[in-house]
Amino acid sequence: MGVVFVLSLIAALAVAYRFLGDYMYRVVSGTRHSAVERGVYRLVGVNPAGEQTWGVYARSVLAFSAVSILFLYGFMRLQSYLPLSLGFDNVMTHGAWNTAVSFVTNTNWQWYSGESTMGHLVQMAGLAVQNFVSASVGIAVAVALVRGFARRRTDQLGNFWVDLTRITIRILLPISVLATIALIIGGAVQNLSGGTDVTTLGGATQHITGGPVASQEAIKDLGTNGGGFYNVNSAHPFENPTPWTNWIEIFLLLCIPFSLPRVFGRMVGQNRQGYAIVAVMSVLAIASVALTIGFESAHGGTVPQAVGAAMEGKETRFGVPNSATFAAATTLTSTGSVNSFHDSYTALGGMMPIVNMMLGEVAPGGVGAGLYGILVLAVITVFVAGLMVGRTPEYLGKKIGAREIKFASLYFLVTPALVLIGTAAAMATKNHETALNVGPHGFSEVLYAFTSASNNNGSAFAGITVNTAWWDTALGLAMLLGRFLPIVLVLGLAGSLARQQPVPESAGTLPTHRPLFVGMVAGVTVVLVALTFLPALALGPLAEGL
């Protein structure tokens, strides 16, 4: 069963790579504007023919996101005065800040229980809108970076507003609609109900909330956002009713990140470059899924040994391999939705989601973010490997000089710095004491939280109370910096690449489409992560699991 599940998923992704990839390529490189799009451009006052330099592109991203955060913040603070609030209070300041940042940065870290905090209007007009546009921002930035590789002698990287509009309207919306229908057929809930009170078998009364769940669910996965309607996220039967909806959800969260390398290959005019990048992602992803399933199935520890399987925190309708695959998939992409509780995983099984995120969300990562992340790693790999073949390193004909390596190095510095400083700060200020556990496991809970926030994943190990002012503020900062510093650096890199005249390929050029290079990028990714985080991991999951 598990084998069929994984193989069918891989086959579906291979098909998506080709067709969805080609479709997205046409969307981002087309020149026509639909009537709806022209309306949008007129509304916001943008000339769709005008292109932007990297600085302008970056400022557009930042301005758009800043407005989004303010809007979302205001929305939550004023919730109780708005319709469909279901009687919920205004969200408190630090909580609203955290959630606003969380959804705008495509992180979807949730300190709250969705069904008992947010009304339907906030869910639909606030959070769901950000699920769309934050995903579009990621893809747009990735496309801008690819344009840097593909273009020559220009400082124009495209138009952010055009990219944003097209990606949202032509890619995310149609797929979400189809996926919503599929999920509704599968049994996911889609209504505007305020909830029903039922008497359970035990005699107690339970309030069961309904709502626009299926639509939220579709974009939550497709846009690798991960913010669930319900607190227990995709473990909730209203969100993810059956094993086959589970399959659809995993497919949704992997399809765009795995297809974007195709767009890359098409845009730079060499499909094999796209295959190489998707190969790196796949190697890392498959290794990670295999290890997670392996660690979980080996179920070390007293209790799992006794009961025969590490079933604590997992839904019986999914089982161990299915849950482990979801856990790996959700952390390999920067989705962060969960269908089981990572905190309850075996020590090493629980380490894998952390490691997946520490890889920098590149295998395949969040929509857009995964592609630009792995391209930056490829640039660093090319730099070291290129020197070893005796030439100034070049990737796709573009020289990796001081300026390029500066942007790439800084990019690579950001998230480890946020994770390590954040975790150390939590430990030093005793804020880790809100964790449920003590010792290595308690430490893992803190490490997980900052790793998830800084890498814009948003999944939670859980087992830690984070709705305090300190946690909301600190994680909000980690999410904000972890999203936008890399974006600015990536656009800077794109700008300096686009200016160059490419060097023609020759026998002396390092080939970047061969298995050797694929292996090197994967190796560099793993080694750099291992070198950066090994001390921290040693004190958490390794101390616990070895």
Binding site: I380, F383, V384, G386, L387, M388, V389, G390, R391, T392, G397, I400, G401, A402, I405, K406, S409, L410, F412, L413, P416, A417, L420, I421, T423, A424, A425, M427, A428, H432, V438, G439, P440, F443, Q501, P502, V503, P504, S506, A507, G508, T509, L510, P511, R514, L516, M520, V527, A530, L531, T532, L534, P535, A536, A538, L539, L542, A543, E544, L546
Partner: protein, 716 residues
């Protein structure tokens, strides 16, 4: 007049298959450079190398800790951290030391000389005065005679002389310098051996060629090259990351120790967290010290390898660019072919025997002192057994020299006139003398031209009793001789991804034939200096880097435009000024070696960076269990090397980290082995050696060191 004294085939043949290498490292040099290395501990010097500066700060920190809280472990770590910095400085000092030795030799050449300055040169009021050489200004005119030292760089404006340039080139055979043409440049400090020349000084005071050479080999104003800067940025970023991992480790460690409060305190960890000594050790082991220590030595040694081959790179940037070159422009004559054409066969026409042609050809060439003429005489002897007849033996012979008008040369013996020369000219001569050139000549001449050769037609005109009869005798086939081993060289270039373009003044037909024979990728025929320039610009527009050699004044613009322009030392000052390298041997084939040295420089940097980063894996396996196994005993499973104790493990890692620098100094100076091959092959090879080696070697090294030091009291 060619000045290169090496035999034409020798350099190519001798260097073939020999990998680019450098001199061996003399252990005495290490010792001699030690004072310099200690002097470089000054932080003001060290700040240029951020990685090593961090190590020094760590060493100062542990020194303070070792003084306030003395222990054998603390002091040993402190000593080895200091040694790490000293070893790094040593690498740089040794690299610089080699340059200094060369500079000292050059300084000897720069002795005090008195110049004989001419005022009013070329006028009636010409007057000579004696001034110190250092007082000469640009544009001054000086006279130098046999036995005197040339007082400054300049161009010969009058006369011709043989000059001993061994002071700068190391080549003892004298060279000829003459006014006009492309052999006019003279260098200050060299000695005139014969005759008298008048030189116009072109240097500014204190900026002579020798001054620049001294500065270059000493590395006095060495600038970081683009790739070096980029690599430094990456290393700085890695250093910051490791600094972060080490600093942020402390609160995590305190938490862990607090949780396992019952665990015993060790020299690595106590209730205050990881001890300062161990934190500093961890940091130094993790940051890329190996490459950080050797980076500048690699750069200096790269320049030095060029100097050893008598090439002066005027900037490190040019050396790096050499590794990146996509297109190599090579002059045909002297680089691809031997300097001159040689007779390869005599082709008779119209019932004439080959011997008769050979005889006539030889007679007409006896007085011809050009290499072509001599080669005809040689062929007549080796091919037809005709001994060279001395001019004196034939008293009646009257030799007719070649002129641009007649385009023929020959000999008149009594009533027989023999002429040889360009086909059209000789045929006209035959017709003018009443003869009828046979139709056979045309196809033969075309055939030779088509294969890239030069046809010379031989004809005679005999005045006998029955009047004059003029007839063509045959055709001499003159051929360009491609140097031995060039084809293999160009094949290598192709494998390295470098396109070779032959530049020649020949017509396209001739050029193509030679290009095919030599195996170059492309050729530029009937090339004028402007064409060369246009070709370079076209290549550069396509993003390619171009290298070329040149010596003439009309090469100067192209030399300046090329990314790597190698000027021949025999060339004009203008050419030397325009290029970014000067080849003291004036050997155009050296361009190929320069490319290899450039590549080797980059490969060495890349390989040692990979090695340095890969080393960290083993160090983690030594240090992490050493730090935390006392708190979380399960972490002892990471101690795969089974090191003796936490203190011995950490000390072993630190010692290994220091010793590996010393061990790699010879490699940094010599450069990693380089054989021309494709990028894929190079990468695979270097990745196995330096990537896998970098992972495995430290496991072995640390274990061995641990086996030794566990016997030190206070460590085990």
């Amino acid at each position: 007049m060619t000045v290169t004294t090496v035999t034409p085939e020798a350099p190519v043949a001798a260097q073939r298959g020999k990998p680019v290498g450098g001199g061996l490292l003399d252990p005495k040099q290490l010792w001699k450079s030690l004072p310099d290395a200690v002097r470089k501990l000054d932080p003001r010097t060290l700040w240029r190398n951020p990685v090593m500066l961090i190590v020094e700060i760590g060493a100062v920190f542990t020194t303070v800790l070792a003084i306030t809280d003395p222990s054998v472990f603390g002091w040993l770590i402190t000593v080895w951290l200091w040694l790490t910095v000293v070893f790094a400085n040593l690498a740089e000092a040794v690299a610089e030391g080699r340059g200094k030795a060369q500079a000292a030799t050059l300084r000897k050449a720069k002795q005090e000389t008195v110049a004989r300055r001419l005022t009013g040169w070329g006028t009636d009021a010409e007057r000579e005065e004696r001034v110190d050489a250092v007082d000469l200004r640009q544009g001054d005119i000086v006279v130098v005679e046999a036995g005197q030292i040339i007082p400054g760089d300049g161009d010969v404006v009058e006369g011709i002389a043989s000059v001993d340039e061994s002071a700068i080139t190391g080549e003892s055979a004298p060279v000829i310098r003459e006014s006009g043409g492309d052999r006019s440049a003279v260098t200050g400090g060299t000695k005139v051996l014969s005759d008298r020349i008048v030189v116009k000084i072109t240097q500014k005071p204190g900026e002579s060629f020798i001054d620049r050479m001294i500065a270059l080999v000493e590395g006095a104003n060495r600038q970081k090259t683009p790739n070096e800067i980029a690599l430094n940025i990456l290393l700085a970023a890695l250093t910051i990351i490791f600094l972060l991992s080490v600093v942020t480790l402390q609160p995590m460690a305190i938490f862990a120790k607090g949780f396992q409060a019952a665990a015993p305190d060790t020299q690595a960890i106590n209730a205050d967290g990881v001890t300062g000594i161990v934190l500093a050790s961890l940091l130094v082991c993790l940051i890329p010290t190996t490459i950080g220590a050797l980076l500048s030595a690699i750069g200096i040694a790269g320049m030095d390898r060029l100097v050893q081959r008598n090439v002066l790179a005027l900037s490190g940037r040019a050396v790096e660019a050499a590794g990146d070159v996509n297109t190599l422009l090579l002059d045909k004559t002297g680089t691809i072919t031997l300097g001159n054409r040689q007779a390869s066969e005599f082709l008779p026409v119209d019932g004439v025997t080959p011997e008769q042609v050979a005889d006539a050809a030889q007679l007409s060439s006896l007085a011809d002192e050009t290499p072509e003429g001599r080669s005809i005489v040689v062929l007549a002897k080796t091919g037809y057994g005709l001994r060279a007849r001395d001019e004196g033996v034939m008293p009646h012979a009257h030799f007719v020299p070649f002129t641009a008008q007649t385009r023929m040369s020959g000999v008149d013996i009594d009533d027989r006139q023999i002429r040889k020369g360009a086909a059209a000219a000789v045929m006209k001569w035959v017709r003018d003398n009443g003869g009828h050139p046979t139709d056979e000549v045309g196809p033969i001449v075309d055939g030779i031209s088509a294969t890239g050769g030069t046809p010379l037609v031989v004809a005679e005109c005999v005045t006998g009793p029955s009047g004059t009869t003029a007839r063509t005798l045959g055709v001499i086939h003159l051929k360009d001789v491609v140097k031995a081993g060039m084809r293999e060289r160009f094949d290598e270039m192709r494998r390295m991804g470098i396109r070779t373009v032959m530049i020649t003044g020949d017509n396209p037909l001739t050029a193509k034939a030679i290009a095919d024979e030599a195996g170059v990728d492309d050729f530029l025929a009937e090339a004028k200096p402007e064409d060369k320039m246009a070709l370079i610009k076209k290549e550069q527009e396509g993003g390619r880097l171009v290298a070329m050699t040149g010596d003439g004044t009309n090469d100067a613009p192209a030399l300046a435009q090329a990314d790597v322009g190698v000027a021949m030392n025999t060339g004009t000052s203008a050419a030397k000024e325009a290029g970014n390298m000067v080849d003291l041997d004036s050997d155009p084939t050296k361009l190929i070696e320069i490319v290899e040295i450039g590549k080797q420089l980059l490969i060495t940097r890349g390989a040692l960076t990979t090695f340095s980063i890969a080393n960290d894996i083993a160090k983690y396996f030594a240090i992490i269990p050493a730090m935390f196994a006392a708190v979380y005993p399960s972490l002892d499973r990471l101690n795969v090397m089974r090191l003796d104790s936490p203190t011995s493990a950490i000390l072993s890692a630190v010692i290994f980290n220091a010793l590996v620098i010393i061990a790699l100094i010879p490699l940094a100076l010599r450069g990693v082995r380089y054989r021309p091959s494709s990028a894929s092959k190079l990468l695979t090879r270097n990745l196995w050696i330096y990537g896998l080696g970098g992972v495995v070697v430290p496991f072995v090294g640390i274990k061995l060191i641990d086996l030794l030091i566990q016997f030190i009291p206070g460590i085990s």
